[in-house]
């Protein structure tokens, strides 16, 4: 069963996607800051990053390409990492600027959240961002994420300081946003 939203499907990374990954990685407006600098990543570097992943049943991350169901255009990527089994993971999203404001980011992000809560059985999902990207912060809020930690002036980017934000989304909060779904996970500790 594919991971599908209304407009998109999530699929594995393919060779033909690498140019897009380079473009997203090197975008100073969104992904390129702090440790990810300088924005000079190459296709070969990205290829080694994704192709060096070994087959394993103990993986703590996943990376998916966001592909439009109609037309097949590639719109960006979503990922998760730092999985603590059945407890938590960190969530990430990068969408090509051509698709901003189209609903693709929300659809892709929510599709990954459904996977994380319904398949991985996580209790909380986290993300890390900053106030220098208000468009992203607003989108994360629409998906249900709440501000958890705000560290003032902790980010320096594009010549300015911004606040570092950690946001999180509890399992029951996500299901409350999706009354059409039923949470059947046994939770011995309640909510």
């Amino acid at each position: 069963m594919p991971l599908e939203g209304d407009m998109i499907r999530l699929r594995e990374v393919r060779e033909s996607d690498l140019e897009m990954f380079v473009r997203l990685r090197n975008d100073l407006a969104t992904q390129a800051w702090s440790r990810t600098l300088p924005p000079d990543y190459t296709v070969e570097m990205i290829r080694r990053r994704y192709w060096d992943r070994d087959f394993s049943y103990r993986r703590d991350h996943g990376i998916f390409v966001v592909e439009l169901k109609v037309g097949g255009d590639v719109a960006g990527m979503v990922s998760y990492s730092d999985v603590v089994d059945r407890m938590e993971a960190s969530w990430g999203l990068a969408i090509d600027e051509r698709f901003w404001g189209t609903g693709v980011a929300l659809d892709a992000g929510d599709t990954l959240l459904r996977f994380l809560f319904d398949e991985l059985g996580l209790r909380v999902v986290r993300l890390y961002t900053h106030t220098g990207n208000p468009r992203a912060v607003a989108a994360f809020g629409k998906l249900g994420f709440r501000e958890a930690v705000r560290v003032p002036n902790a980010i320096f980017k594009s010549g300015h300081h911004a606040d570092n934000l950690s946001m999180d989304l509890l399992r029951e909060e996500w299901f409350a946003l999706h009354p059409e779904l039923e949470d059947r996970l046994i939770d011995p500790f309640g909510s």
Partner: protein, 176 residues
Amino acid sequence: MTQVRLRPVDSADVAAVAAMLAHPDLVGRRGLDGDRDAERSATALTASVDGLVNPQDGDAWVVDADGVIGLATAGWWWDALTPWTHIVIDPAHQRLGHGSSAAGLVFDRLFLTTVAVLVEYSVPSWDADGLSFADSLGGERTGARRRSGLRNGRYHDTVGFALRRRTWEDARAAGR
């Protein structure tokens, strides 16, 4: 009161530090990468402590007061502007002011020898003593990572703190 000092963790300290961290009262408070909130043997903790002898993107110090009484770590993997620190004091040496002394020495090092604009630290929400200690260090609360772990059959959060350079400078100028 015995003078507290920090010195880099040496190979000869690993066994003593690991033995200290194995104390059951320090479950959930050890601050080691990849640790679990469970009782662990000194042997099991040795590999983690061994990695502190030559840490990457950070520092690790023995808190020494005529012997090993604690461990202080600091790191700046993501950004040198915003390092974090974690301090653990042997339960047998707590409530004697050693934690505050060690924290003061760590803040001095980070603010005097690095470009840090603030120093972050965190405490699990169940640790009332730890929260009081964290508040006493002068940092402001930055929020809480919800549901960051399990303890005694309940989820708990992790409360974040940040001590700004200006706050540290003001306290230092006031002789605190």
